[in-house]
């Protein structure tokens, strides 16, 4: 039991702790600190909050084989509506937050309803929804930015470390509770592992899908809220899929989350994946790397991690054969006959969803 716990703890923490150690060493070698500015902690918590929520929003549909391009468009449109209402009513941040999150949920429900009612491929559906939401954002603002730079009430939220920590904690607990501790979550998992069997046994697939989209919309609305509050304005003039970029930042944390989920819980994995990538971002800033180098490094990290995931068994076999040849004695413990990997989370990764 002790060995099992050790293995689970190692599997859960090896990526974030390893990344932290490597990045700290790299920064030290270059004579800089990973947390080199006064607001490094704020940058860390804010980065973790936005990346974790985006990863969760992407993953909860990706796990069910549904790829959603409209995440960025939902974040933009919900924050455009929230900020516009808050500015026009003078209701302050509370109104902006409530309206943004309410709009996010509504947009998620609309996405889900379009998907289940039309019965078309979720990826194709999300293309149409992205165009629709981007177009509505543009039509509301006439393509101009929604600006509130001088309104401290609206911009102070994303400048508070405590608020960002609370967002992370509440987001993690809510998503964990909804997907791991409720009837809805059990149905969701049943549909992931055996769609036909779950539907045949009475699971309401359409309702489950719409609710999943609603949760995704809620998560992205919080991301939109944080980004809007951080920037002091919202770029509402993005058309022709200009909003999908935000989704790409979440790929690696999603895969890392899926991997960590095998050892503990995939929601915790998304948090640790987001933490890892935010640390990488802080290191980029500390080392003053150009955007070109940053993009290429991020891409290499993604490809490298996927190579590892896709060839894990091969790598494991090679490793076992090397260690067996070196250290095995006739009286030693027998080598495991199966891959010494913990149970994989059910279709946890988009690795299976391309």
């Amino acid at each position: 039991m002790g060995a099992g716990l050790m293995r689970r703890a190692t599997g859960t923490l090896i990526i974030p702790v390893g990344a932290f150690v490597v990045l700290t060493a790299l920064c030290s070698l270059n004579g800089v600190s990973l947390f080199h500015t006064d607001d490094s902690l704020l940058l860390l918590t804010r980065g973790v909050a936005t990346t974790m929520l985006t990863s969760m929003a992407l993953a909860i549909n990706l796990n069910s084989g549904r790829f959603d391009f409209s995440l960025g468009a939902m974040a933009t449109l919900s924050s455009v509506v929230g900020a516009t209402v808050a500015i026009q009513t003078g209701g302050g941040f509370a109104v902006m937050a409530l309206v943004t999150i309410g709009t996010g949920i509504l947009l998620g429900v609309v996405s889900g309803l379009v998907y289940v009612l039309l019965g078309i491929s979720p990826m194709v559906c999300s293309l149409g929804i992205t165009l629709l939401y981007e177009g509505i954002s543009f039509a509301i603002t006439g393509g101009a930015n929604v600006s509130f730079l001088l309104d401290r009430g609206l911009t102070s939220f994303a400048k508070s470390t405590l608020a960002m920590v609370l967002v992370v904690a509440v987001g993690l607990v809510l998503v964990y509770t909804v997907f791991d501790r409720t009837r809805f979550g059990f149905d969701y998992r049943a549909l992931i592992t055996g769609q036909a069997a779950a539907v045949a046994s009475g699971t309401k697939e359409k309702r489950n899908a719409v609710l999943t989209y609603a949760v995704s919309g809620a998560l992205m609305s919080v991301v939109g809220l944080i980004i809007a509050s951080q920037m002091g304005y919202i770029e509402a003039g993005k058309l022709n899929f200009g909003s999908i970029g935000i989704m790409f930042t979440a790929f690696l944390p999603v895969f890392i989350g899926g991997y960590i989920g095998r050892f503990s819980n995939d929601k915790l994995g998304f948090l640790l994946g987001a933490l890892t990538m935010t640390l990488v971002g802080l290191a980029f800033a500390a080392l003053s790397l150009s955007s070109t180098v940053q993009s290429i490094t991020n891409a290499l990290l993604l490809v490298g991690f996927l190579m590892f995931l896709s060839n894990e068994e091969r790598i494991g076999r090679a490793w076992r054969s090397v260690t067996h040849r070196r250290g095995a004695s006739p009286s030693g413990p027998a080598a495991p006959t199966t891959a010494a990997t913990p149970n994989k989370a059910p279709v946890t990764s988009g690795v299976n969803a391309s």
């Binding site: 549904r66 019965g119 293309l127 039509a139 509301i140 993009s295 996927l306 391309s354």
Partner: protein, 344 residues
């Protein structure tokens, strides 16, 4: 390649029942979805002519704009059908077009030769495409995520290429570009490439094998189809399309920045789906889907521009209409292929 191990989808074999065969006469219920993209184009063209005539726009100029808008998308999307037919997905086509166009522009500036520019565009695009294919094939990576990584790398390469000029853009002599930015050049390139693709996809083993892989990868593997070779061939043809698209992009937009061609990648995808291409590939793949979809999008854009040119929210409303029309066409086009389970 991971995509090639996906499960068979209901209805992916292109028949509607156990006795369904290609030779069987189609019922109206099957015919309407099959013809939906074509009907969509006809409806849009009628709307375009009516709106244009009523608004008194110069139709000849409007048609030229329409061709200018659609030709690059049609060429790139037609090549990309070879990738999508196998159930794979490439999201880096726009970034690849940009990098190929930039390299082509730099090649022209160095040599002042049109041929050198064309060759540079094609070689860059094919090489880029083959890197994605090789990564996916050799390391068993999912094609989609490989192309997401390529998107990031190519974006960075584009920034680096611009930096080599010491400015924020790569500029090709505009009088030279204007000389070749003509309808005959564009149409010649498009017709030649489309003819090649139609021939390869319809009359050679490559097209049949791709549809088989997209429809049932297990069967394809069991019948001895080489997944890796087929994938590499598909990516090479798609790369050729991207290269030609990049060539025409340089001629059309001789001043290139890192945001040039930004929307091409996703518009290619929308064009294919608009034209009736199933996103999962397989036997229902039609090589002309990109042509139908690209033209439909351009006609719709042009009509909406005519209608909403004076409104500040016009572009947004235009995109909303485009989204609704897109969803409607896809819904009708896929109406014969639904099961009780939600599609994934």
């Amino acid at each position: 390649m991971h995509d090639l191990t996906q499960r068979t989808r209901p209805g992916a074999n292109g028949t509607s029942g156990p006795n369904g065969t290609a030779a069987r006469r189609r019922s109206p219920r099957e015919l309407v979805p099959a013809l939906a993209p074509l009907l969509g184009l006809v409806v849009l063209t009628v709307a375009f002519v009516v709106v244009g005539t009523v608004s008194g726009v110069n139709m000849s100029y409007s048609v030229q704009t329409l061709i200018n808008q659609s030709v690059v998308i049609v060429i790139i999307a037609t090549g990309a059908i070879f990738i999508f037919a196998m159930g794979s997905f490439d999201i880096s086509l726009g970034a690849s077009t940009l990098v190929a166009a930039m390299v082509g522009g730099l090649a022209y500036n160095a040599t002042e030769s049109l041929v050198a520019m064309l060759v540079a565009c094609i070689l860059t695009a094919v090489a880029t495409s083959l890197v994605s294919a090789s990564l996916a094939a050799v390391f068993n990576l999912p094609v989609f995520v490989t192309t997401v990584a390529m998107l990031s790398v190519l974006g960075a390469v584009a920034v680096a290429l611009v930096q080599t000029t010491g400015g924020a853009q790569i500029k090709v002599d505009s009088s030279f570009a204007r000389q070749y930015d003509t309808l005959p050049v564009k149409l010649s390139v498009a017709v030649a490439f489309l003819a090649l693709c139609v021939f390869l996809f319809t009359y050679t083993r490559l097209g049949r094998v791709e549809k088989l892989i997209g429809g049932n990868p297990v069967t394809a593997r069991l019948t001895g189809v080489s997944m890796k070779k087929t994938a590499i061939a598909a990516f090479a043809i798609a790369g050729l399309g991207v290269g030609l698209g990049a060539f025409l992009t340089v001629l059309r937009t001789p001043t290139m920045t890192t945001s040039s061609a930004a929307d091409i990648g996703m518009n290619v995808l929308v064009a294919m789906v608009f034209g009736g291409m199933p996103i999962s590939g397989g036997p229902r793949t039609r090589i002309y889907a990109a042509l139908l979809g690209g033209l439909s999008m351009a006609v719709l854009n042009q009509t909406m521009t005519t209608l909403l040119a004076t409104s500040s929210a016009g572009n947004g409303i235009s995109q909303v209409v485009r989204a609704l029309f897109f969803l409607a066409v896809v819904w009708v086009a896929t109406s014969g292929h639904r099961s009780k389970l939600l599609p994934r």
